[in-house]
Structures are given as C-alpha cells and as structure tokens.
C-alpha cells in the first residue's frame, strides 16, 4: 500500500508543488500589499501587535482558494482513474480496493496538511520579518482567545468532516460510474454527493438530538445540554456533533461515534465498489 501511495504522491507532486509555490508567492504579495496599506493609511493594528487588520481575511481567503483548487485536482484525478486509460493500469494491479482508496485518501490528506502548514509557517516567517511578528506571542494569542477544548473540537470537526466529505465525493464518483457507464452524464456524481452529504449531515444532527449525551473536554465528564444552558444565558451553537457556547465546548458522544462509523462505512463501501463492481 505504501508503494501505491508513493506513486500517488509522485503523480500529483508537480501540480501540488506548483500550487504551493503559487500560494506562497501570493502570500508574499498580500503581505507586501498589507504592509504598504498600513503605512499609507496608518491602518489599525489587531491583537497580534503589529499586523494590519487587512492581512488575516486576505490570507484566509487565499488558503481557502488553495484548498478548493487542490480538492478539484484530486477529484479530477480520481475521475481520470475511472474514466480514462490509466485505470487499466491501476485496476490491474494486485491491490485491494481498500489499499487503492486508502492510498488516495492518505495522499490527499497529506497534501492538505502540506499546503496548510507551508502557508502558515511561511506567512509567520515573512510576517516576523516585515512586521516583527512574534512567534511565541502569536501562539499564545491563539490559545488565549480560544479555549483549548474548543480548538481540539474544531480540529476534530475539521479533520472528520473533511475526511467524510472526501470519502463521500469518492463514493459518489464511484457510484455514478458503477450505475451509469456512460461518461456523458458528467455531473451526476455531484448530485449524488449533494444528496448524500445533506443526508449524512441530517443524520448526524438527528443522532445528537436523540442522544443528547455530551463529553466536556475540559473536565472529561459526561453531561447533558442542560449544563451548558443553565450555566449561562448565552446562546450556544449546535453543529451536530459539537456544541459550543460560553467558553465551553461539548462533543456529542453518539454523533461523534456515528460520524466515525459513517466515514468507515463510506470507505468500505467505496472500496467494495472499486474492487467488485467497477466496469472499465
């Protein structure tokens, strides 16, 4: 499986490398632009000390753009596997569906991490040169404004939901290939994905409603929602598998487990289809 993963990375590294280079170039542009703007208009400085307000939203927008581009590329290369000649090689290798899909998932997630990390590290580095951005201060700042249980939950939520999203996309593409062999209906997978995605989100929400048992990541105690509501009058945000409000974040145990089951189920389902049902 690691061999196949290596070739997955080999096959995509040119595009991803260029994307990262492009994003780093754009970061430089944005930072220089923000530096100029802050000098010209004496733009206010936010919590980091000397960073112009303008910088963060622009950077976030760019990272988001980079992720979307990478995602489209990954989706495109998976579709090529099913619809183009290269599939004749991939699917005649003595590999199980699990191995093929697993390699693709790991490679895709690895690229996501690589893009994210390189952007953050590079911008922090450049920021420290241009604005005198203080690393230690920055990290402290992040952990101060956000309670750590919140950070962990958000992290978990992002990882789990990206994995599920990617898996659902793979599943939808594979299913549309298995059910309709005609290439002409190119957008079918997207419709399948939208339906599946809303269905899965609905289920996760439903599960958390039926089983309102939450784990408080600060105290590691199981509580109900009441504790959150009675503790304060502040409204809380219900995201399905976690709830946050008033500085406390609670993870719904059942919908968390359910999400993992969904991920595992989608993975196994997709690799079953890949191994047993695909007609090239």
């Amino acid at each position: 499986m690691f061999k196949y993963m290596r070739y997955e990375i080999k096959g995509t590294h040119k595009f991803m490398g260029l994307l990262i280079l492009f994003v780093l170039g754009a970061s430089t542009g944005i930072q220089l632009f923000a530096l100029n703007a802050s000098k010209k208009y004496n733009d206010g400085l936010d919590g980091f000390g000397k960073i112009p307000n303008l910088l963060m939203p622009l950077l976030v927008l760019m990272i988001f753009g980079a992720f979307v581009t990478a995602l489209f590329y990954i989706i495109g290369s998976f579709r090529k596997e099913l619809y183009e000649d290269r599939g004749y090689l991939t699917f005649s290798l003595p590999l199980s569906g699990n191995q093929i899909l697993g390699s693709k998932m790991v490679a895709a997630l690895m690229w996501a991490v690589a893009i994210g990390l390189s952007v953050i590290v590079y911008n922090a580095l450049l920021g420290s040169i241009l604005f005198g951005f203080d690393w230690v201060e920055g990290v402290k700042y992040v952990f101060n404004i956000i309670p750590s249980s919140f950070t962990i939950t958000i992290g978990l939520f992002i990882i789990l939901s990206s994995v599920i999203t990617l898996l659902l996309i793979y599943f939808a593409i594979t299913l549309s290939k298995v059910s309709i062999k005609n290439k002409k209906i190119g957008g079918l997978w997207f419709i399948i994905f939208l339906i599946l995605n809303s269905f899965v989100n609905y289920l996760i929400l439903k599960v958390s409603g039926v089983f309102p048992y939450y784990l408080d990541l600060n105290t590691f105690k199981i509580t109900g929602l009441n504790s959150l509501i009675t503790k304060s009058f502040m409204s809380y945000v219900d995201m399905g598998f976690f709830v946050t409000g008033n500085g406390t974040t609670l993870v719904n145990i059942f919908s968390f487990i359910f999400s993992i089951l969904i991920a595992v189920g989608t993975f196994l389902g997709t690799s079953y289809l890949i191994e047993r049902k695909i007609d090239l």
Binding site: Y7, G87, Y88, S92, R276
Partner: protein, 231 residues
C-alpha cells in the same frame, strides 16, 4: 494437462446488448490461445473480465482456481488495447512501477527487451510514437514471469518492422509453463504462434480447436478459415 483458465457459461450484457453469450472455454497451461474475431465480437470484453477490469453478468471465471481478484491479478500479465501507463512517467518510472507491484517482474529481462525494442530508460512516455508505446507496453508485460499472459491486439496499428519485433518478443519470452491468450484480427501474421484458436462472433464461439488439427481437417490455414467464417 491442467486448465489454468476455466470459463463456464459466461455472459456479459450491457443494457440491451449482449457482449458475451453463455461462453464455455478452458485454457490449458502451457498453451498459446488465439481469440479471433472482427471488431465487436467480444474479444476485448472477454480479456477484460479475465484481467479483472470487468464483471460478468452471469457465469463463472476461474484463473488458477480463483475468481478474478487480487490474487489473479498477481499472476496475470495483461496488455490492454490502449496506452495504460501514467502520462507523467518516463520509461524508467514504468519499469520501477512494475518492479514495485509485481513480484514476478524480471528487471534484467525488461532491460534485454528494451534493448531489443530499441527503447531507452530515459525516454518520456508521452513523447513516444504509437509503435514505440506498443513495444514498451509489451516489454513491461513480457518481462513478468506470469502464469498467464493476456494480450489484447498486440500487433494492431504498428508498422511491419515493429510487428516482427513484437512477434519475436512474444515467441522468445514465452515460457513453457505459462499460458497466453491473444486476441487479434490480423490472423495471417499471428496464426503460426497459436496452439489453439477460438473464433468469436458477436459473443458466441463459432468454432474452437487445435490450430494444427483445424488445418489438417479443413485443409486450409487458420486465416483462410477466418475469412470463410467471417467473410
């Protein structure tokens, strides 16, 4: 003789069209079998099922006693009728790729074949001509010491010189204890390398038998017989 491939009542249909119609065929180990038929006769469909890229609608296929899957893919060396290598590869990458995934891949043999085909490891795949690609694909497929070779139209669309090279490579690298299944509609060029032939038309086997036996019995060559059947 043991059957390395057993095909029982194999049917493959697409919606309303039948590509293979209740096929029965056994292939003995050590034999070179030609699947002959015009375009659309179901040759490629049959090979794709053997290679594990296509599922049958009905019936059963056993290769070395197993249904097509991870194991059979490890003992079947498959040459598709198209250029299947990843477009970012150089020849060297393709060699490493095969070495990584197929334990029966013999790198020395691959180098010999490359030399014979006048190809070099540094060449980029997407800049090769059609004939060179065909030769490279065959190099990779034949450099495996597989139990079963499945070659889909190995000499279609290449010039006569390349055709000769490819035929020689097939004959030279054929191993006594492995089997080959080869489809072609260029019967005259290939008929002498077949032990057995199968005439396939619109998913049905019209005739099958030992090539020498058919020549003797029908008093004509396999190619003449092909023309009689399909002409």
């Amino acid at each position: 003789m043991t059957n390395i491939i057993e095909i029982n009542n194999l049917t493959k249909s697409y919606y309303n069209k039948r590509a293979l119609n209740n096929l029965n065929l056994n292939i003995e180990s050590g034999k070179v079998v030609g699947i002959l038929g015009p375009n659309g006769s179901g040759k490629t469909t049959l090979l794709k099922i053997l290679a594990g890229l296509l599922r049958q609608s009905k019936g059963e296929v056993l290769i070395d006693g197993q249904k097509p899957g991870v194991y059979t893919k490890s003992i079947v060396s498959y040459l598709p009728d198209r250029n299947f290598l990843y477009d970012w590869m150089k020849i060297n990458d393709a060699i490493c790729f095969y070495k990584d995934f197929f334990v029966d891949f013999d790198e020395d043999k691959a180098d010999d074949l490359l030399k014979f085909m006048k190809l070099e490891r540094g060449m980029k795949i997407d800049s090769l001509s059609k004939g060179m690609k065909e030769k490279l694909n065959l190099t990779l497929v034949l450099a495996r010491k597989a139990k079963v070779y499945i070659l889909d139209e190995p000499i279609a669309g290449v010039d006569p010189v390349a055709r000769d090279q490819i035929l020689n490579a097939i004959i030279n690298n054929y191993e006594k204890d492995s089997s080959m299944v080869i489809t072609t509609h260029l019967v005259r060029d290939m008929e002498n390398i077949f032990d057995d032939v199968v005439y396939l038309s619109e998913g049905d086997i019209l005739l099958q038998g030992n090539a020498e036996g058919l020549r003797e019995e029908r008093q004509m060559s396999i190619d003449e017989l092909y023309k009689e059947i399909f002409g």
